[in-house]
Amino acid sequence: MLYFLVAVAALTQQDTDTSFAVRQGQRLEVNDFGGQVVIKAWRQNSIRIRASHGSRDYIRVSNVGSTISIGASSRHGPAMVDYELLVPAWLPLTVSGSPSAEVNIEGTDAEVSVETVEGSIRVVGGKGNVSLHTVEGSVELEGASGHIELNSVDGSIDVRDVSGEITAESVDGSITLLDIESADVDASSVDGSIEYDGTIKDGGRYRFQSHDGSVSVSVPERANVTVYVATFSGDFDSCFPVTLKDKTKHRFSFTLGTGTARLELESFDGSINLCRPGQIHQRED
């Protein structure tokens, strides 16, 4: 086990600046109690740590097995540090920003896992398993591909230009999914609205469910999809004509094209809106 302390005590606020080489197969874990964690990809096979921290705080870097860990501590326990890390784009990232760190990652081309309590999460890039969880903060993801899992209890979830399997869950926040390329999307919120503008692929499965919020989904003109709508006391509206079938008290369905994809839209007492791509915002405006 490689273990070293990068910073030593000084009398005032201190900056740490250090670099070390990494190799393929390694992964990076960052733990920050509070502050900001900014991680940017660069072309070099090394990690550069720039950290701003209290004079009595220590930045710890360890290498156990294939995992490089970066964290900080002080004599009184966990330390709040502002990090700016430059890392290779291929380096898988795990960031724990609990309880109050904010995390901003840009340009990664690898797996990403981030968890915070109070802080927001913003990630541009990511490939493979991308998992972003927060309690109070918002989640923003852009330009990722792979197996995407997003969760915010109280904040909004905004996803743009993402491909792959997507699962997004929120209790009290809205979920917005734009420019999505996927055959498997599942988004649910208890009290927030849900908006989806993306592909409806043949044979794909799409499920959007809210209790109190509205559900707005765009369906491309040539989509082959069977749409299942369920609501208790909400409304349904479509920008284009549809022929309802299998109508019961709380459910109905209709088929567009050959109907091979499955689209489930549920809102207990919110409105459900179907439009063509790009029209949802126009209607809301």
Partner: protein, 221 residues
């Protein structure tokens, strides 16, 4: 609710896991209320199954039947010594099939088109609450209490701010409110498959939320 360990509980009970898997599952059990309760239920099922007495019937009808259909007494003897036993996975599989079959029958009956025969309707106020709801409530109450304690401890230890605790409690109230609304709707329309599945989904969400919130509240920095 399901996690990667739920499906391994029966193997654990049957002592079919190797030592590292067993240790990992036991570590998981220490922090997972749902799996702990599921395991306890499995243990009760196995205990009851093992406690069943293989008693002969008070009145054995077989000799008379055997005489009438011409079966020999050897067959009778073989029948008496035969004993069927099931492993835990078989019992679980059987129970799942039974539950699924029962649910399927109920679902099909509830979806049947109206027929010309007279139908007696049950007033909604007399509709009995579904048993799984009551059981989920019981598990939920316990998990809520655990979460409350975990939040207190998290706040005391400085892991959670008072604002975070309030937001978690608020979110829990939002979910509970959604569950209450779904329940009221179900009282009006107890046969609605949408309302049943919506209530189940919201309760699943609540359990997942409780587990996740509990994990965050107790996480070590």
């Amino acid at each position: 609710m399901n996690d990667q360990w739920t499906d391994r509980l029966s193997e654990y009970l049957d002592d079919e896991l190797d030592q590292p898997q067993r240790a990992a599952l036991e570590a998981h059990l220490a922090g997972c209320e749902v799996c702990t309760q599921t395991l306890a239920e499995l243990r009760r099922v196995v205990g009851r199954a093992q406690g069943l007495d293989d008693r002969p019937p008070a009145t054995d009808l077989w000799p008379g039947i055997a005489t009438r259909i011409g079966v020999s007494t050897d067959d009778l003897a073989r029948r008496r010594v035969r004993r069927i036993s099931f492993t835990v996975p078989q019992l679980i599989a059987a129970s799942i099939v039974l539950v699924a079959a029962s649910a399927g029958v109920v679902w099909m009956l509830s979806r049947q088109e109206p027929v010309s025969a007279p139908v007696t309707s049950v007033p909604s106020s007399q509709a009995r609450p579904v048993k799984w709801v009551a059981r989920a409530d019981s598990s939920g109450d316990h998990a809520v209490e655990e979460l409350r304690l975990a939040l207190q401890e998290g706040q005391r230890a400085g892991r959670l701010s008072p604002i975070t605790v309030r937001k978690i409690e608020h979110s829990l109230a939002v979910i509970d409110s959604a569950i209450a609304e779904a329940r009221r709707a179900l009282e009006v329309d107890p046969n609605s498959d949408y309302l049943n599945s919506h209530l189940a989904d919201t309760m699943r969400l609540k359990m997942q939320f409780l587990r996740e919130a509990n994990r965050i509240a107790t996480a070590q920095t």
